[in-house]
Symmetry: D4
Subunit: 223 residues, 8 copies
């Protein structure tokens, strides 16, 4: 009964031109559906890397079987089919704690698929400020920073007081009780005193990396 | 129709002995009621300072008229009738921004009425960490710290990573939008990564100071 | 009792170096305090424009009296003292409806103070898509887009499906009932299907513009 | 101990006359209870199709065994016993993404049981507007539109700006984090700028279809 | 700096064709802006009635001065300039209590501007069911029902159990405490057991009437 | 356009027979409307006391003018026209603090209008348990207890652990910050460990008293 | 390390005298703990029935083994050890739908243990009013009514408009989406227009029955 | 890709000196990670006890295997490797009910690791006040009290009205329905009428004990 959107008569290029490929969000799909989506995208864009995120064990296993050459990250839950583009520009992905690592790695891989380099600086939460302060040179050099933090979500605000680079903050669902599944961290980030921070959905490493990569890409294009 | 609680037959001392006087929360009272309450408490405890908090302009004016010798703080909204006790022990009251000052001053005066000294360290929010770091010696010397912060409420968590003194955090209603009238700051504080922080109600400088003063008092009693 | 943060012994430059001046958020200050803050900042940085946001009628009047040469925006509530820097790079500020204009103008002025050009494209909400589609060339040319929308907050998501420029979304408190003072628009933006959107606090045109300006600045620096 | 409502003395027809059969919501029932309910309704109304919704695997299996001729939809979770009525009037069921399909198919089947035709237009979310624009002729021809969308829930608002047909919006629980299990999509829909949209409970494809079918039925009755 | 959306190059008719005029939501406008909007719309559509909703005292006064012939409803806050169209089809607007009247009258006037007749049945809340039962014949005859209720919002659910007409429910902000400004009524309506109800934003009599009028219009067009 | 509910054909007595008069909730009414409602009810029930609640200054003034013999409570905001019935049975109304008094007095007057006696025991909050313990004999003697408390709302739970009388708890909006306008007290009461407590809406002294009076009335009828 | 509360020196009878036995809430206990608690209570009160609620399959199985004579309700999850007291007075337990039955049966059994009779009237939700109207004589005869309803929770409000008996309303977690696990039903009940309703925690059939039984007991004691 | 925070050039001692060891929160870690963390901490601090909290069955089993001498608490979920320090000062840990015991035991063990003695007083909830009153002497003697309570969370407020010792309140997630996973208890505690209470995150026995131990330690250091 479903009819494909086949009769499009408008100028598609006018109404749809962000310039990036579609990605596969595997979380509401069967392993078979994800494989099929990756195959379809990969065939129509043979020269580009294709990305699936939020791939669970079963999906990653199925992907390994169908795409033996795929780059698969078991911690970040990503599958990449095809060769990564040459990186242009660099983003930094920073985490407050080790539990934020899956979200951070989703961000790193996404940035690479979107065409920029990514350096991961893990476990520099504000409970031990010396760790963060020791990484300021690396962070200042990035075109954009993705800052990943759960529980109190205080890292991005402290960071934005220390560097002038745009910070895209990712609240994570790490925490318990009044952490409210990441809502507490989200609110902290939206209310940070230091300006220069914008925020994405809870655990959305993918979305933050797309924002950061678009910045890095524009910077690289200008240089 | 109201009958006074006159027929108490139980051992009151057993059921009611925290050892501190009642205070007057003026916010739901008429100026006349607050004056009457202060007078009553002050008469029955002539040797002790009596405190009213959340006194608005009209109440403070009325208090000035009835208690010419009272110590009245126009910013913190407090009225103290009677001589402060000699301070034993010291607490530090820290604020993130200047807008948190009314709450901080309520805390300072409360601590003094409850019998301990209080030093106020204002405007050391985490957006400019150097300000906080510069005050660490003062803060480490206190028996307890009351940390007052609105918007993102990140100050107490950063502070508790730097000092080993008990921190009582006060979220304030300073902020807008997703600040939710202080809820965002409250959640940040409850989810702080560094241990050693406990939290009171939004804008409750009074309550935090009572906690801190009881700590300082116990320390002083032991020495 | 307040002690100024005067004894800073650490290397300030290391702990505080985003490179931008402090701004004055007038909403919790008296007109006199705002004037004093502007004067202080303006004296210590004579060669740079100094910005106050959320200035109400009384504050703007007081600023007019003290800074006759200031650029004052009655709709956006901003006061700028000193000459704007030469613009490097350009951002676009887009609004869904005319009621979003105050927030949008705060963003435009902020961007200018932070050193980039800003073009305002008003009233292109998704209830009449032809309006938005007609502006795509302008929007695609910007280094970053600030998208301002209240009620359903659907504009940024539709926009990010049409252009590849980083979009910083600002939910506004325009609306009623289940709009929840901007929460509904915020949630829409955080859950937008098209990637490339990040979000700031409700009505925070200032913060969004700082993010966008830092992007534009970096692009301009690279070129 | 339960006493059946057997002693009804009032004019039932007066107090209960919407004209439609009762349906079976299987989600809080055992498979056996659902089978029994379907059998009971089906016996007392031999000439009409009887519907059960939200049937899980076990329930559908049990239904297959007892009603070999039943029309069972494994994706939408519906079971229909008896022949569908001849369709009078037509509704369109539109989805933003493929994950919204179960809710959409519940709506399609419900509409058919309630006596009208239903066309399903899937995967036309606003992240790629050209897909929606390409289906406008189909949508304009319907008597009512059921628009199903999760995550940001922006589809119905954009749609209602393009067509003059009544739109009944169904938020779905598809999404994560601040999607809040469908609350974000619900709020978006309730706050849509374009008028002509009304909303039902999260994932309630059944309820939306009943609304739409009653509209289509009335239109058909008038013609 | 605002550039009018003047360069629209796409086929407007394709992207914008619901067939109804724009309306003026006066709540975020100055009286002068509302008058100007009404005048603009009224000039470009001389043969059609033009509607402004949520007009406060000042706005209605200004409208009276500029449009002496306008139909102004002081309770519902509506202003209509121009002649109402001949009504085709009929809707019923039902209220639970007298406090819901302003919302109900906004709905009645809106329906008339949108081209259908409207009958108002007030004060038939479920606390006294006999009142509602006595109006069933009137309600059954309508093409659609707008049911307006605050506090517990129970009216639409009871009503939908009694009639087969589509019910568009409007929660109102009437109530206190846990009424949560209309949220309680909204939730009741979204969770009503009887199917056939859809819901609009709190106090949105206008939106409900547009839905209802589009239904009535379609029925009338078919007959 | 409003049609009175005049054509009621069903047996009213069957569908509406709780046996109590309607009351006037003045909060959404003009003083004139309240006076008119009181007059109407009072004329049709000359032998019974008629009650209006939530009467503000203007309404009480207008009532004083029209009903010189009315019993008007300035603290509780009630107006009673006509003679109170002879009291049968007794309820106790208990408050945690003096700020809860307006709600408590609304409850006392309501109980009297509904035909039972009421004793008010004020200011027995759990912060000083001896006050409550001293009143246990009075409380145990009542047919039902209305327990009124704001802030933490702990009184009813402690009380229900001490007496076997049914307790109807009324949360009040007294408090600030996380008191959430009475929501905190409401939740405390709903979660009380001791059984035997039921709860009404925030500040709803009227509703609690109706519950209590119906209990007392039934007890009295049985004796 | 746990010290039993063994050194109680106060007059226990004064501080603890509601007159009812403790009950066992099994939901946070192991089957063995529940058996042990029941055995302990049953031994110390050999002449009275002892109640455990919220007993899952494992707990009920263990109870069957240890108390072969116990009355165990598999639907309501209750276990009663010992003989029920002779019933004095009667309550009615009413449910909106069959899914509310477990909560209703918990209420029925609790009432019996607390010494009053209970009649269960199931499945009389407001979507089909005739069912409720047909039971009015039974309901009017009860000393108190426990009204159990999920989804929209409209039943108690309609009921309280029809009878003068005290109604204790129990919201249930039956529903989905915006039902919010029973919060929607709870809010409906707290905001019911008809007075005479009080509310307990979601799914708390036990608590409602204790309230109702205490009413019935008092009525019976008076007669 | 992760780079360790190895290049720290600032004076660590200045930026990190609370004086306590890091602890291991096992809840987001694999058993192997927890063992490794404990081993690492234990090796670098051979003379001190090292603590892991929230250890589930698998983690405790793994710890038993690797650290045969560890002190493992199956109820509180703690693992301690190394000898406890000599206790200085004492805290009391109080619980409202037996279901609060796991949180309480986490607090007891934490206090011991942090160097102070801890006495556990269980099951003294306010539903039976005599139990609490009987323990007042023990409680008054402590340097600080950790008060653990779920459901209504009323215990700390009552307690703070009876003793002058600082009370750190821990809401637990024990309860159901409107308990909201501990939010209800949290709000009760934040709004307690008696001053002297501060609050930590839901179920955070660890955090409360650190606060209490720091108080006790300071008192002991002073004596």
């Amino acid at each position: 009964m479903t009819r494909p959107a086949s009769e499009i008569r408008l100028d598609t290029d006018r109404l749809r031109r962000p310039g990036d490929l579609e990605d596969v969000l595997a979380s509401h799909k069967t392993p078979e559906q994800t494989v099929a989506s990756l195959r379809g995208l990969s065939r129509s864009h043979a020269d580009r890397a294709v990305l699936a995120t939020r791939c669970d064990d079963a999906t990653r296993k199925e992907c390994r079987r169908h795409f033996p050459a795929a780059a698969i990250d078991d911690i970040g839950g990503t599958v990449v089919v095809g060769s990564l583009p040459d990186p242009r520009g660099t983003i930094a992905v920073v985490t407050a704690g080790t539990s934020d690592l899956p979200v951070a790695r989703e961000a790193v891989v996404t940035a690479q698929v979107y065409g920029c380099g990514a350096v991961l600086v893990a476990d520099v939460g504000v409970a031990g400020l010396h760790r963060l302060v020791g990484e300021l040179d690396t962070l200042t050099a990035a075109d954009a920073i993705v800052a990943v933090a759960g529980t109190d979500g205080a890292l991005p605000g402290v960071l934005a007081g220390l560097v002038g680079v745009p910070v895209i903050a990712v609240p994570t669902s790490v925490g318990y009780g009044t952490g409210l599944g990441g809502i507490a961290a989200l609110l902290t980030m939206l209310n940070a005193c230091a300006p220069g921070i914008s925020v994405v959905n809870i655990d959305n490493g993918f979305g933050a990396a797309v924002c950061a990569a678009r910045i890095a890409r524009r910077v690289a294009a200008a240089s």
